[in-house]
Symmetry: C2
Amino acid sequence: MSRLTIALDMMGGDHGPPVTVNAAVRAVTDSPNLQLLLCGDRPQLEEQLKNYSNYPEEALILVHTEQVVTMDDKPSSALRNKPRSSMRKALELVQSGEADACVSAGNTGALLAMAYYELKTLPGIDRPALISSVPAQNHKKVFLLDLGANVSCDSEILFQYAVMGSVMAEEVEGIAQPKVGLLNVGEEQIKGNDVVKHTGQILSSLPSLNYIGYIEGGDIFSNKADVVVTDGFVGNVALKACEGLGKFIISEVKRLSQKNLFTRLMARLSLPLLKKIYNRVNPDQYNGASLIGLRGIVVKSHGNASSDAFLYAIQEAVHEVDRQVPTKIKDKIERLLMERP
Amino acid sequence: MSRLTIALDMMGGDHGPPVTVNAAVRAVTDSPNLQLLLCGDRPQLEEQLKNYSNYPEEALILVHTEQVVTMDDKPSSALRNKPRSSMRKALELVQSGEADACVSAGNTGALLAMAYYELKTLPGIDRPALISSVPAQNHKKVFLLDLGANVSCDSEILFQYAVMGSVMAEEVEGIAQPKVGLLNVGEEQIKGNDVVKHTGQILSSLPSLNYIGYIEGGDIFSNKADVVVTDGFVGNVALKACEGLGKFIISEVKRLSQKNLFTRLMARLSLPLLKKIYNRVNPDQYNGASLIGLRGIVVKSHGNASSDAFLYAIQEAVHEVDRQVPTKIKDKIERLLMERP
């Protein structure tokens, strides 16, 4: 097996090196074929590495960077003013071919802007998308995109998202002929706005895409579709609303639990179960999201990611490299563009 | 106190007369000043009424109608082909002034089309909206609109929604100077699409509106805003996604509960609590939604509404009549249009 190299933005996220170094050490300990390029402030990284022993030291290569993109940086300003940041360096290493993929827990908007600038989109793809999976009934996973990369999408962009989502479900989850649904306010043909209706017509015309038609918000968590396509505004709001509901339910359980001894017991017992389910529903936290449609692999871990979550994001990047996701997207979009009437 | 008259579409919804008659009987038993005009198939209504005694019979007036709008009827076809339906009659009674408001559990699309045609919009309002409240932290309620009446909205429509939502929160919930938030993908000024940005500019310019800026999907269930404004596509998807998540959580609790004796006990104990919370989050089921912006009051109960839910919808209609919601909307939109630069 050839060695696989992933560049990590070690300074991104709310926690920075204490979390990212821990995840990096565990990643190379688990995977002998993995090499990690740790982009960040060398003294801070060395300081953190002192806490670990018994790991393959040669698998971690420090790449010193001077700047840090903060969570408050505007995307345009980060792109202009932080050319020597750990985030930018990690992306440059992918662009130059020194790394096969990169992972960051930093500012999403800045990562999008820099990744788009550094890596460019694949042929046939106009805009990258942010994609993640949410759990669904019967142990299934459902891929949802776009989660906020593009707030205004025309039918061409939504068509490209459908293709990219289908490739992700097939390659990352191993689903043959993934069912692709288009998010809408109803299932009937006449429902929806013009962009959605037109997208539905395009998707229906493609024999190689398993398009199942419109699906409603209520069906995201069912196993009706393997891929749910929508624009970044709707996807972002829907996903965050669900996260908000999860938090609300947990706070309600806590509140109701204070009523009497019985409800207190009930809540004490049900909270771990609820948190377990809630963590599955919160993909940013748990799964990481992938930035797809680029000529390179970029995985975004949550800003508040724990070292478990950051480790998971590294593994996700490895998996996407193994499955050659960008090449598969390029091939599939080429094929489907030829099928279009 | 003068008598208050509400017209009911007795045939709408999945259950029809068995549920609607039960709710009607309970409503007039509880409220001596209430008169209900029961629009529907007279023989079926009389048959159901035989099951009840000890209620003020003179408060229930049967209005025979021949047609029924089904859940599958397309809005345009219902409007054209069902002029003698119970739904249409209930709306006509509001239009003619014979009823102060109407309630239906029938086909939402058909109700929207017929209500718009029969009642017309208030001066200053271009399109009616579907509004409902969801629970939020600290025992608050948050009004969310639009839930699907208009899938494409420009800034003028969103401005009108903000005004209408503000009036509903003030009159129905009794909140002074309700905080109005505009749903967006982030809280920063630069976020969002052009329609949302332009709407934000309009709302910021109005001294009489307590506009608090953008809010994210995750904050719908917090008590950050009393009113959350968005277009019908986003509102519909977000609300249904939350309902879907609620169902998913309940099914997961059931599934996990089968693992062993301890988890089974845990789930058994937590399910009633979860269902209680879930029912609060499912506004269609519990609260009913109101169709606002019209020259008359129309309350929509869920198609699958129980008699409790239909009774609640009748009480909601009574409340809106008491608070003269349409007049308040007309006054407020007039005042705010004058404030606009």
